[in-house]
Every structure is written in structure tokens, then in C-alpha cells.
């Protein structure tokens, strides 16, 4: 469970959020959508405890949390395998077992054979998949994801979304998923929350979601027609 109650955040004289409230139930996936610079990442950072709200409270049902950052934040001096294994060791998993688990997760995200590559030797999308493997390997109760598929190829996106959804459902993880792609949010989320221009949150109703889906379908069919 994640709960933000009347949270306000100021940067100097700038009011970023005022009396923001959001509740995400256990096992629920909430997508936060909105344009760049609307403060989506700030909401995630407040949930993760990276920045503190100036007013209001943030309550988490479990301290066991993983975060897929927008920039991968991998340790540049460590291999892909170590980057996944080290957070496991931080949770008390023995080194050999941590490396074995890390190897399995790299395989699941399609990076078998790249275990010993350092982040600088991987493409942006591959590094992002290492970051996803790192987040899931620790089996978190709360999963925060900030545009996790932004750098991933279109063909891999669907498979990764499937992997994410199956992991979340199996582990009953509580998820906040930040994206600016409404269609991506539609595919993964139980609820979609939009950051409005006045920085308030508006939950997308079923009718909105249907309209978005219809729009997407029309555009896809249009592309298909043009291709044929």
C-alpha cells in the first residue's frame, strides 16, 4: 500500500504540489501520466523517500521497495551481473546465491550472454533492462518505475510489459508507473492518474480510457492502412 495524504512540495517560491493525495492499494498498478516537467518524477521520489514533502505524509505498507529510475543509475564500474546481484546482497542474500539469481533475471530480460558487460558497453535499452532486472530480482513489495521502457525497442516493449505485469500479479506488488505514453499506461495499469496543468491529480474514468483506446486503435489502423 502507498498513501500520500495532503502532500505539498515547494521549490523556493515555486509551488510544485499542494495538498496532493493519492492512495494505491496492495497489488494495484497505478500509472501516472502527464507531460514532461509536470512533476511525475517528484511524486515517485517522495514515495521513495529520496525527497521529503514540505507538508503532509507519505505512508508505505512495506519498506521493501525497488525503483527503476529514468536514467539507469547502474554502477559504472560493475558488470551487468553485479549490478543486479549487489542489491540482493544488500538484502542479506549470500554472494553466490545473489549472482545466480541475478543471472536468472538477466536471462528473463533477454540479456543472457551480456552478464560480464559493464554499463558503458551496453546500449541504452540494454542498460535499462539491467535496471529492470535489478528492480525485480529483489522481489519488492513496492515497485516504483519512472519511464522504464523509454529507451527500449518497440519489439521488446511488449515482452517487457508482459514480464512486468506477470511479476506484479504473482508477487502482489504495489506499483506506481510513471509514463508519458498513455497507451503504455493502458496496457499495464489498473488505474491511470493524470497530472493536470494546475498540478492536481485527476483519475481517468472508464469513458476516458475507452476514448484513449479508441483513438489509439484508429491511429494504428490508419498506419496499417497506409502501410497496405
Amino acid at each position: 500500500m502507498i498513501s500520500l495524504a495532503n502532500v505539498s512540495k515547494f521549490f523556493g517560491s515555486l509551488v510544485l504540489f499542494e495538498n496532493l493525495s493519492l492512495h494505491v492499494g496492495k497489488g494495484q498498478i497505478v500509472a501516472i501520466v502527464g507531460p514532461s516537467g509536470s512533476g511525475k518524477t517528484t511524486i515517485l521520489k517522495m514515495i521513495a523517500g529520496i525527497i521529503s514533502p514540505d507538508r503532509g505524509t507519505v505512508t508505505l505498507g512495506s519498506p521493501h521497495l525497488s525503483y527503476v529510475f529514468q536514467e539507469t543509475r547502474l554502477l559504472p564500474w560493475r558488470s551487468a551481473l553485479d549490478n543486479v546481484a549487489i542489491p540482493l546482497r544488500a538484502r542479506g542474500v549470500e554472494k553466490t546465491a545473489a549472482r545466480a539469481t541475478a543471472g536468472q533475471w538477466l536471462k528473463k530480460v533477454g540479456l543472457e550472454g551480456f552478464e560480464n558487460y559493464r554499463p558503458a558497453e551496453l546500449s541504452g535499452g540494454m542498460a535499462q533492462r539491467v535496471a529492470i532486472a535489478r528492480a525485480l530480482a529483489t522481489q519488492p513489495h513496492i515497485l516504483l518505475m519512472d519511464e522504464p521502457l523509454a529507451n527500449v525497442d518497440v519489439e521488446l516493449k511488449a515482452s517487457l510489459l508482459e514480464l512486468l505485469v506477470s511479476f506484479i500479479r504473482k508477487n502482489e506488488a504495489t506499483v506506481v508507473y510513471v509514463t508519458h505514453e498513455l497507451t503504455e499506461a493502458l496496457q499495464i495499469a489498473d488505474r491511470i492518474v493524470e497530472v493536470m496543468p494546475d498540478r492536481s491529480l485527476r483519475e481517468l474514468e472508464l469513458s476516458d480510457r475507452v476514448a484513449v483506446a479508441r483513438d489509439w486503435l484508429a491511429r494504428s489502423l490508419g498506419k496499417l492502412g497506409a502501410a497496405l
Binding site: 525503483y67 529510475f69 559504472p76 544488500a90 559493464r118 554499463p119 551496453l122 535489478r134
Partner: protein, 274 residues
Amino acid sequence: MTGSTLSGKTESSPRYSRTRGSKSCRFGLVCGALGVVAILVVWQILSLVVNPVFLASPGDTAKALVRLAWEGRLWVELLITLKRLVTGLLLGAAAGWALGILAGLDRRLRSFFEPVRWVVMTVPAVIIAMLAMLWFGLGDSTVIFMVAVIVFPTMFVNTVSGAMSVDTRLVEMARVYRFPRRLMLTEVYLPAIASPVLAGLTLAAGIGVRAVVLGEVLGATSGIGHAFSRAHSWLETDELFAWIVVLLLLMGVIEFGALRPLRKRAARWRSAGS
């Protein structure tokens, strides 16, 4: 279906070529060798026009070097100096490194240590030598103390700047994943500051060699510095230059044999993708 596996690694991993690097490395070695030859040529020409009491020729210097090695004095004095240098360097570098990490991570400690750094960096080396002689007399302790005190601020400043420039985004990541203090240190901070620390150690080693010679000239009855001082008093210019060559070789061994490979190793991850 968490057991599912993605297939089709459509993104290709960026590869890197070493051809250009090794070519430029070979070119660098050739240029370095040419520099050494240029020094020897200029030295030889100067020795033809300057009185040998003031400037020994490369040939006379080499003969003196062989004589010192044959008599065994070279090895005795070299070992004494090396022992003092390594001990002083380790003490000064360890203190500068440990306090530098603390000061880099905590602004209050940084302010606390700042006057100490300023005093040690500002007081001239000769005054440190005189104080050391006053406190410890002639011998090992004076020279080791001098080297440690003179080396300390260089290491301290480099470590502080390294610790302050650690990528805060990695620190945030480690906090989110609840890295314990030990992992935070070994996986985030130490690798991040390795390059500036090793750069500091390289500088410190150079300063340390100068300090050990100064200490031995002023406050010891043995070591290369003392032998240098003795050769100077007796106007044994060829021996004087031989000891200078020994010091340069010593510095070369430390720099190229130990510090440069360490620096390369620490920076390996930086060059991996370039």
C-alpha cells in the same frame, strides 16, 4: 508467468576498437623516448662547454653510477631512502585519505580540517624539517615525519574533491536499495573516488621523493639525500649526478611500475565504452 524469457536481442551492444588506442600508445612511447634522447644530447653538449666540477657528463655520471653499485653504497643508501619514503608516504597518504573521505562526506568535518590543511600546506618544507629535527633529532623519525606531513595535504585535498564529486544519483539509488554502510563504501564511494585518490597518490609520491631527499640532506646521516650532500661537499660532481639519476629512476619505478598500472586499473570502466 515470471519464468518467461525475452528473446531477440535486437539492440546491438556498442563495440569498441583498440586499434587506434594502441597506435597512439606506440606513438606516445616513441615521443617519450625521443624526449629522453633530447635531454641526454643537451646534457652532453652542455658538459662539453661547462667545467666538470659544475656539470658531470652523462658518461662520467654512468661510470660513477656503476662504481657506486659495484661498491654496494648505491644499494645501502637506496634501501634506507626507500624505507623512509614508503613509510612516510604510507602514513601521510593513509591519514590524508581517511580524513579526506570523512571531510568529503561531512561539511562540518571539512570546515574543521580546513585550518589544519591550510597550515600544513602553507608552512615551508624547510621549516617542517627544522621542527622535525628539533623534536626527533637526526635520523629515520625526522625524515619519515617530514615526508608524512608534506604528503598529507595533497592526498587530503584530492580525496576530499573525489568524495565531493561522487555521483549523488548513485548514492540515491544505493539508499533506495538500502545498501548497508559497508556496501555503500565499497560499491559506491571507494570506486568513485579511486581515480582522484590515485592521481593524488602520484602527486604525493613525487612530493615525497623531494621531501625525503630534503629530510636526509638536513636531518639524517644516511640515505640518498645524505650521500648527495656529502658528494656536494667534496665536489664529487659525477657522484652527485649519479645520485640524481638514482632518484629519477626511483621515481620512474614508482610511477610506471606501481602507480600508472593502478590508475589504469581504476579507470578501466571509464574507457570501456569509449
